[in-house]
Amino acid sequence: MRKITVLIIVALAFALAFSSPAFSARKTVIKIGINAPMTGDIPKVGEGSKYAALLWLEDIEKAGGLEVGGKKYEVELVIEDNESKAESAVKANMKMITQDDVLAIVGPQSSKQAVPAGEVANKYKTVMISPWSTNPATTMDRPYVFRGCFLDPFQGPVVANFITEEFGYTKAAVLYDVASDYPKGLAEVFKAAWEKKHGAGSVVAYESFTTKDTDFSSQLTKIVKSGAQVLFTPQYYNEVPLIVQQAKDLGWKGPIVGSDSWGSAETVELCGEACYGLYFSSHYAAAGAKGATKAFIDRYTENYGYIPDDVAALTWDALKLAQQAIQDSGKITGRIEKDRAAVRDSLAKIKNFAGITGNMTFTEEGDPIKCAVIVKINDNGEYEFYKSSCP
């Protein structure tokens, strides 16, 4: 018994001696939460978000903190892993809001996590900006939830118009993942837009597969036989290389067009030369970028050794948006509920925000009005700006 007592006392003494901030007052720190998939299905997306956030933090620290209303505040990032799972994203948001007292949250990236996580953010009246989520449900009827990218109903017609104008084709094929929310939604929107242009039945093959499939030969054979002139496949970086290579092996000659989910740096790395010369719609193009976009790309490449994908760029923009909203709110009172409401109000008011992925103005729903970019994968495997399409 005595030994235990002694042990406890020693432990307590240590505790007090080593906790250096002991007895000091709690100071106001601006905390920004990042809810990203660091593990799970798409870790590369999480990595991109994290790196962009770290670069942003570096800038703030260099400036000696974030200046709000004439006073500089220390900024802290709270990066939480959502494991690419919905319930984990909900828990992460709950933790950041109630435990870490974050002022705003950036993320989650995929709609699967952003839809339920947005519910939490809205309920606790905390600003959440999802940089990459394209599902309309993420921001719908949620005054506290915003997004940094355009929506599928805009992107689908952009791609359909581009193909029509560029190649003059009238018969298209679509290959998509039926089990994943984003490709499925986009495939539907594209089909509707295409058929509106070229009449019913102009999408000659509408084939699907399910997540984690790696063999697409039966679908691709059908597509090749259908006489389609162009293949649209709104898939992620882990599937695009397989689809492209298998299509080429099966004798597909036409172009393959993708969507913003192609934008990851991994796509070309895994796909190699098979992907050169293909097009996809995206939020920004790395090669041939100018101004602030170029500065960001160069810094990112220098620090982390590869060209940032669109997730990183969008995350950067989302953070900049949050930063401006905080600065516009004019004052940090230290009372977190009040500050969060102030940040929300100033964020909704932002007009013509000059982001590296284009200019943004928010609609009532918290969705930005911004331009889409058609990117060409050039012969060096770089994502080159080809065309831009504005609403």
Binding site: S19, T39, A137
Partner: protein
Amino acid sequence: MEIAKKFKNTFSTVPMLSWLLGTLTAVAIEYFWGYDYISYYLGLSKIPVLFGALIMLKEPMMIPGAIGYDLIVYVIPILLIAKTTAFFTNPVAAILEKMPLWFSVILHLLLFYYTLHLWAGINDYRNIIVRLTLISIILTISINVINGYQGEFSCSHPGFMAIGAYVSSALTLFLFANDKMFGTALLPQELGPWGFPFILIAGGIAASLGSLLVAIPSFKTRGDYLAIISLAFMFIVKSAVENLNVIGGARGMGGQPEYAPLPIIFIWTIICIWVIHNFVTSIMGKALNAVRDDEAASESMTVKTRKTKMTAFMFGAFWAGIAGGLFAHVIAYINPGMFSINRLAEILAMVYFGGLNSIVGSIVGAVSINILGEALRPLELFKWIIIPLILIFVMIFRPYGLISFKEINAKRLLRSKHKREQGV
């Protein structure tokens, strides 16, 4: 070892009632002084949610503070109060022993719930962890009926859960909520919370009817074959939901009203534990064990093997459906991807970690996997190295899980521990 023995000796006379009182005191200390005094003087910015695990992993400098906090708030008060109140709780426990068991159990449960409620009420993050953990407990116990007591290897639990989740969400959205999917509510929204139990049960029944699809074709199969059939069932459910655009398809279904606060989930968990405990200790449960050990022998001893297996399967599926319904109303969003192979791995990990053939084991498994998963969150990728490693070690040293083949004995758990009075 000497210390451990002494420690065990000192506290062997403490009844459950005292432990609960001690915990309640600790939580009350945290509730009243945790933020303003204790965490403040230890230099912590807030009350550590999960016993400081998150802070310790993120900022090693804070380890002493967090340990100090745990000692001051939890360890010392619990031990102190447990020991000092033993003098009067032992007689009380002795009186309770003479009363009907249910009375004593309910009394203890109320005390436990109050403590839990207070603890979870300090922070909503804790609240959601507790709620999801309780749901995991229901899931783990229900799969234990099939994989433990029945001795099969069924992989269709996420499928049952999905059926329960979708049926109950569709019903609540259809009946009690104005939403885009089903239009305006059919019934007044005030009735929602009262109708929720029936909706959950409907979800459970749907899941158990779904389980017939696995049970009937797999009568003659055992072991690996059943595993494959049930795995197929899980994928069938997932693909079916993905292709049903009426209920959202891959986009998922959201906007479920919040009908599952902590007390509701707690009550369901207790009912689940009670019912399953009665089931597995009944004649049917014994028959189930007999079928597991030797099907042919039990058949010759007049056990109706087919009926037994079917009942157990449907029974397990029913509770998985209930868990799915609760889960959907906690997260307020479901999509078919949630009920896939990842969920299966999680459920199997919980049941095999905790222990087969044991309700206590299931509870231990569900709680430890959930808490570990949350506590190791700051480690990101390494979390997925540490948890599987722990699982591997458990499987090596305790092949049937931490606590296996053990039943709850409420009477023994709650009895008075005063040795002198009992003349030991």
